[in-house]
């Protein structure tokens, strides 16, 4: 296996990217009584795993996205050596539930990794995600070694035309992005697009070269998440992305599920209480065609449990 093979695999899976959408329509219409084809599902007032169960149901279940024998990558935010209640990392119960859904849909392998900010082994442990993934039978992988990252080009990017991306991103059939909604000292807010910084090796480059533009650029990369699940259960309202104490956290018990990263970030911003247009990278990504920030154009299913 070498870089070329990874790239090939990346291209093939990239080419099949449009398929989930097609299947999505098919399953949403045929497999349930819900005739509607939703662009986004927003869920509130439940435990993470329950909100995911109910939310994904509206999109025809995980089988809309995951087929038998497929290789799935789940990319949560495991950036920090903090416990779940601190709102620094994606809720472990949510990650666990998604892994379980994938296996129920017949997935061959389910991998989970993040390129962390704090020491990765401590972050994997404190976040509870390592344990949760293992309990569900998933495979937790290190994101800490440059050897795992392959060079790719991003077509249409203004600044970030090249990046080194974790081989699992390129290599998996289905890519599920599971960020946590948080305040952020540099970008004001971190949700789905910002979470992609944990899929690449050199984050410093983004910081050095117009952070907002780089975040938007990466959203154009062909290997996009097939599904985004935004965890807004514990929300770090201030002092993000790491937080200082539990005082920074509001218990919002919410979740957003959609295939469109820009739409996800836009909805998450509103949920957080800021205008999407006040976040530069959302505006830029929208203007570059990475997705739609205008929520009024979307068919949204809203569920309050």
């Amino acid at each position: 296996m070498n870089r070329r093979n990874f790239l090939k695999a990346g291209l093939l899976t990239g080419a099949s990217l449009s398929l989930p959408g097609v299947y999505g329509n098919y399953f949403a219409k045929s497999s349930s009584t819900l005739a509607e084809n939703f662009d986004m599902v927003a869920v509130k007032n439940g435990e993470p795993e329950v909100m995911f169960d109910r939310g994904i149901e509206q999109l025809g279940g995980i089988k809309t996205f995951v087929k038998k024998n497929q290789k799935v990558l789940i990319k949560p935010n495991i950036g920090w050596d903090v416990i779940p209640e601190r709102g620094g990392n994606t809720h472990p119960k949510l990650v666990k539930r998604i892994v379980e859904h994938c296996y129920q849909a017949g997935a061959k392998d389910v991998y989970v990794f993040d390129h962390t900010c704090d020491d990765w082994r401590r972050s994997y442990a404190s976040s509870g995600i390592e344990k949760a993934v293992k309990e569900a039978g998933g495979k937790i992988v290190s994101g800490d070694s440059e050897g795992y990252y392959q060079s790719v080009t991003i077509n249409g990017a203004k600044v970030l035309s090249k990046a080194k991306v974790h081989e699992l991103v390129l290599d998996s059939d289905v890519f599920i992005n599971v960020p946590i909604l948080k305040s952020h000292s540099s970008t004001r807010l971190t949700v789905t697009m910002k979470n992609m910084m944990g899929a690449v090796w050199d984050r410093g480059y983004w910081h050095q070269n117009n952070l907002h533009q780089c975040i938007a650029d990466y959203a154009l990369f062909k290997k996009k998440p097939n599904l985004n699940v935004v965890d807004a259960y514990y929300v770090l309202k201030q002092n993000g992305p790491r937080g200082v104490s539990k005082n920074d956290v509001a218990v919002m018990k919410s979740m957003i599920i959609t295939t469109d990263m820009v739409a996800a970030d836009s909805a998450a911003a509103k949920l957080f209480g800021v205008e999407p247009d006040s976040i530069s990278y959302i505006k830029i990504a929208d203007s570059m065609g990475a997705g739609k920030k205008d929520l009024s154009a979307l068919n949204i299913k809203r569920l309050i449990l």
Partner: protein, 527 residues
């Protein structure tokens, strides 16, 4: 007692100690819990003494057990517990494989009494005057630690990474690569020189290091002169054939005069099975001790004493000179605004740079235990006297807020363990912001990597031109962990760095944080 059985027991016990001790230093997966690590190192002599001086407690009483063992059975520490001693036995064993004549390469050698005394007293004087430098260079445990961390650990990491590379091809990620960070040449070279010296000495002369240089060996050696059971020649049985002397890797058996220099004997029991008669035994010596009376020590040698005093004064003055020329550490390469750190940052729990320099023997156990690898062996960052002692290297990593591994493992008490909540407030240094180098200022774009990583939000973002935000440091909350410096992406210079605190302080707890209001989760969505 049966000599060959004793010898076998000695070999098994020593190999157990050596492998357990080595594991602690090359444990890249951090698989050994602190409690186990502390137990394994409990009996290491110099660390235990130092810790006992710092924090008088039973957890540091290992050296007392060693003293008792020595009084009873001689230098058991040297033969079965000291990792450097066992390493030399292994080198010696390998060297025998390369010899045509399998047996008997040693001869009795005269004791280098003056050298032993000098090398015993000077490290103590150094220590009393506030430098652990010579213990760092002479304590066998600390030398072995350096060898294991700087030479063996890279080999372990390399083999692991090769395995990880192969497994990765089969999509198995359970074995993961371990990147050794901040590996610098000079500590590696110094350690390599130590290693070479030890190998050459033991290859040719067995336990020469232990019998002429090692201060622990000298101390325990002189104590074992009065030990209960010792290796002794039975004058009636001994044929003065000299076979045992040729087997003795301590070169301490004088068969012509039928005496054993117990101060150099490391009770390895190699001699007993070699004896064709029962001329050499491991037996009770106190019977004789009480019989012999009036045998006084010789008069003290004045010239030797004078030499000792002048030598130690000379070396002390040399080292204080070296402390004067303490080098400035270049944080970054020269550029628009080069940045210098005036005071090196010592690990949390060391209280002050001075105290740390005085207590740390540079065994590098903490270097391996540190999960972020921010602890790196120094060269001259602390000055000559602190050579090889670990320092916080924020280019390589940063001190993990929730971690206190270094204090937990430190066997000498140079880094004392602290409660996690207390450790989180130990201010080892303060962040300094260099606006001239900051991306927000120079490129007029958002960055904030420093503030992102700051665990206390001492580095927070304040409004700047064009709706941008720029970092500001609040000294009171800063603990000097170096996360900001590590994360700062400016090249080639950092826009934020940590200036060490000579004496560590206590940071204020960030109490400005307002508690978030309860959210009504049944409310409609805002979109």
């Amino acid at each position: 007692m049966n000599g060959s059985l004793l010898r076998k027991i000695r070999i098994i016990v020593s190999l157990l100690f050596l492998s357990a001790t080595t594991l602690l230093f090359v444990d890249i997966y951090s698989s050994v819990p602190v409690s186990v690590s502390n137990k394994i190192l409990f009996l290491q002599f110099v660390p235990s003494v130092l810790k006992f001086i710092t924090a008088i407690s039973l957890t540091a009483a290992g050296f007392i057990i060693i003293l008792v063992l020595t009084i009873l059975f001689g230098r058991i520490y040297c033969s079965t517990i000291c990792p450097l001693g066992i390493l030399q036995d292994i080198v010696n064993w390998i060297s025998n494989k390369f010899r045509r004549k399998k047996r008997g390469k040693f001869n009795f050698l005269r004791e280098q009494k003056v050298l032993r005394m000098v090398l015993f007293i000077i490290p103590i004087l150094f220590f009393v005057f506030g430098s652990a430098l010579l213990l760092n260079f002479l304590d066998p445990y600390s030398i072995y630690g350096k060898i294991a961390v700087n030479l063996f650990r890279p080999v372990v990491a390399g083999s692991n990474n090769l395995a990880a590379f192969i497994f990765e091809k089969f999509k198995i990620y359970a074995v993961y690569p371990f990147a050794l960070k901040g590996y610098s040449l000079i500590p590696f070279l110094i350690t390599a020189i130590f290693f070479l010296i030890v190998i050459v000495m033991s290859w040719i002369k067995g336990r020469l290091y232990c019998n002429t240089i090692c201060p622990v060996g000298t101390l325990l050696g002189y104590i074992s002169k009065i030990s209960l059971v010792k290796i002794r020649i039975n004058e009636e049985e001994c044929l003065s054939c000299g076979i045992c002397a040729k087997e003795c890797k301590s070169s301490c058996i004088d068969t012509d005069n039928k005496t054993v220099d117990t101060s150099r004997c490391v009770v390895c029991f190699d001699c007993i099975p070699s004896c064709p008669t029962e001329g050499i035994t491991f037996s009770n010596s106190w019977d004789d001790l009480f019989k012999v009376n009036g045998k006084k020590d010789e008069e003290p040698d004045r010239s030797k004493r004078n030499f000792l005093t002048s030598a130690s004064v000379y070396i002390l003055s040399l080292s204080s000179l070296a402390a004067q020329v303490q080098k400035k550490i270049v944080v970054t390469k020269p550029s628009t605004k080069p940045v210098f750190r005036n005071v090196a940052v010592s690990p949390p729990g060391s209280f002050s740079v001075e105290r740390f320099n005085a207590k740390c023997t540079a065994c590098h156990l903490c270097v391996n235990a540190c999960p972020t690898q921010v602890l790196q062996p120094s060269f001259l960052e602390y000055g000559f006297l602190g050579m090889l002692q670990p320092r916080m290297d924020n280019i390589t990593g940063f001190c993990n807020f929730e971690c206190k591994a270094c204090g937990d493992v430190c066997p000498t008490g140079a880094i004392l363990p602290s409660e996690l909540e207390k450790k989180k407030l130990i201010q080892i240094g303060k962040a300094k912001f260099v606006k001239e180098n900051c991306i927000v200022n120079t490129q007029k774009t958002d960055c904030g990597a420093c503030s992102e990583h700051c665990p206390t939000k001492a580095v927070h973002m304040i409004p700047f031109e064009n709706n941008l935000v720029i970092p500001e440091v609040r000294d009171d909350y800063c603990i000097g962990c170096g996360a900001c410096e590590y994360a700062c992406p400016t090249k080639p210079y950092k826009a934020i760095y940590v200036e060490g605190n000579k004496v560590h302080l206590t940071a204020k707890k960030n109490l400005e944080l307002k508690k978030q209001e309860e959210v009504n989760t049944k409310e409609d969505f805002p979109f």
